[in-house]
């Protein structure tokens, strides 16, 4: 006999719906990436998503699980997110490796959906960054910046993606450029002030906002990401806690230090729009599985991400710290869930009965 407990009504939400809303929210950003990098972006997106889905299918089959779960949207979302954090210069095998790593080591080995301690896409991205630092920090010049560059047509892109720069008779230097964060880091290391560096780079806040700067595929346009993120928040698919506390912490920290010494510390607006911060804040850090469950826990998580991102960007070797920060905070998630709990009705805060 099966006992069914109340409630005998359901609100109608389900995992598939959640996952597909996030995918839909990422479509503007994916479109911007295609606009910036042409066919290259299309190849990377399709490779990552396709390989993720295929890997998921084979792993599920190998484990004797229900292969229908491929369509719950989580593998597709992982592939999409992974593609969006990769630079356009990655060769095909790196994209494939990252997708397989994300699905197999990032997720399925931990027992599949709901059990991965780290965000799979970010874990794969961190592995790539540490293993192939050069390729992962070289950014293809976006299409609008150098229209004369023959990089974006279907055949050239295809050759480049599969055979590398030599196949398209291009040198690495000619087709890549530094991202604002990377440029700033190098210049600051040589004693140039922040303002000078940004002027030399022809940095424009407006461009960074609407998406005309070099970077990973999905990092380009803060506008597109914000559109998706705010839509998700309005739908209650993601809660506001992590993005808001993350961005706020970043802004406060950057602003504070920028006030202290504007020559060394970049202004808050630059930090907010540069790199993968917005993508991480709205789509990576909010990955429900690897972030805390309670509202307060999420705020602590967001603050931690903000601090770590700023610290790594400002003092570390790597120009971009958002991904590291999120993975590092993912490690702390179980502890946050254990120690930071919401106040229970009828109890005083901090005192567990």
């Amino acid at each position: 006999m099966i006992f069914l407990s109340s409630p005998h009504m359901h609100g109608g939400n389900n995992i598939q719906l959640t996952m597909f809303s996030v995918i839909i929210a990422l479509i503007p950003a994916a479109m911007v990436s295609v606009f910036l990098y042409g066919w290259l972006a299309v190849f990377i997106l399709t490779t990552c998503i396709g390989v993720s889905l295929a890997t998921e299918y084979f792993v599920l089959k190998w484990q004797g699980k229900d292969t229908q779960r491929v369509w719950d949207g989580s593998a597709g979302l992982t592939g999409l997110l992974l593609a969006l954090v990769l630079p356009a210069a990655v060769p095909w095998w790196m994209a494939v490796f990252a997708a397989v790593f994300a699905i197999v080591l990032g997720k399925q080995l931990y027992g599949g959906l709901g059990h991965n301690p780290f965000n799979p896409a970010l874990a794969a991205r961190v592995v790539l960054l540490i293993s192939f630092p050069v390729q992962m920090t070289s950014w293809i010049v976006p299409m609008h910046m150098d229209a004369s560059l023959d990089m974006y047509s279907f055949t050239t892109s295809l050759k480049f993606f599969f055979l590398g720069p030599d196949a398209v008779q291009q040198t690495w230097d000619a087709i890549t450029m530094a991202s604002p964060l990377g440029y700033l880091k190098t210049e600051l290391g040589q004693g140039v002030t922040v303002t000078e560096a940004l002027v030399n780079y022809h940095y424009s806040t407006l461009h960074a906002f609407i998406g005309r700067e070099a970077g990973s595929l999905g990092e380009g346009s803060a506008l597109a990401l914000l559109m998706g993120g705010i839509w998700l928040m309005a739908r209650h698919t993601i809660s506001w806690h992590i993005p808001i506390s993350y961005l706020l912490t970043m802004a406060v920290l950057a602003g504070l230090f920028n006030l202290i010494n504007p020559d060394v510390y970049a202004p808050p607006m630059f930090h907010l729009l540069a790199g993968g911060l917005i993508l991480c804040a709205f789509f990576m850090a909010t990955d429900p599985v690897s972030s805390p469950s309670s509202g307060i826990g999420k705020i602590v998580f967001g603050i931690g991400c903000g601090v770590l991102t700023w610290v790594i960007r400002t003092f570390g070797n790597y120009p971009e710290g958002a991904m590291f920060a999120v993975v590092l905070m993912n490690m702390a998630t179980p502890l946050i869930d254990y120690y930071v709990r919401p106040r229970v009705y009828g109890h005083k805060r901090g005192k567990q009965s």
Partner: protein, 197 residues
């Protein structure tokens, strides 16, 4: 003679540390075995002796002294085993005998000859009666240890399952269709494994 100094220094230091530790060990001496108490508190206290020890306390002492495995308490079942393994910091071990449904002893009074042998056997003193009188079992206190079955010369004691009480009813673990399916699959998988072996 260059080696004399180092040797002396080393010996001296070692001696000083030795004395210090000896004093400390006296100061931090642990009385009794608090662990055995903790283990004893986890045992169901049926005093049934199925673990091979004459009661729960002796088994607790043996477990606390790492003399015996943690999986010998039959009535305690898996939960007790896990709790003991947890507190002892050892790997959980499989329970050899399945714990049965809770039972209590019941005397068929018309057959009882009043020999008082069961009264002597009961570890928790829950059988009342006098010589040549019917005995009866206070079922609220019976631990279901079955120790009274053996001595009864006329085999008039039964073990009966305790009735399910409304106020003691509790929700079973949720069983969804998928969980049931998975369970079935696992069973099939195990069966296949056995076949192939």
């Amino acid at each position: 003679m260059a080696f004399v100094y180092p040797v002396l220094v080393f010996a001296g230091l070692a001696f000083a540390i030795g004395v210090g530790l000896a004093l400390a060990s006296r100061y931090f001496h642990v009385e009794g075995d608090p662990l055995a108490d903790k283990v004893d508190a986890l045992l169901p206290q049926t005093q049934c002796g199925q673990c091979g020890y004459p009661g729960c306390r002796p088994y607790a002492n043996a477990v606390a002294g790492h003399e015996v495995a943690v999986n010998h308490c039959v009535p305690g079942g898996e939960r007790t085993m896990l709790a003991i393994a947890d507190i002892m910091g050892v790997e959980p071990q499989a329970i050899e005998e399945e714990a049965t449904a809770p039972v209590v002893a019941h005397i068929r009074e018309d057959e009882c000859i009043g020999c008082t042998l069961c009264i002597k056997a009961c570890p928790v003193d829950c059988i009342i009666g006098a010589p040549k009188q019917y005995h009866t079992i206070i079922s609220d206190h019976c631990t279901g240890c079955t120790l009274c079955l053996e001595p009864c010369p006329v085999d008039c004691i039964d073990m009966v399952e305790t009735p399910e009480l409304l106020e003691h009813w509790s929700w079973p673990v949720p069983g969804t269709k998928r969980a049931i399916k998975a369970e079935k699959r696992k069973g099939k998988h195990d069966a296949q494994g056995e076949l192939s072996v």
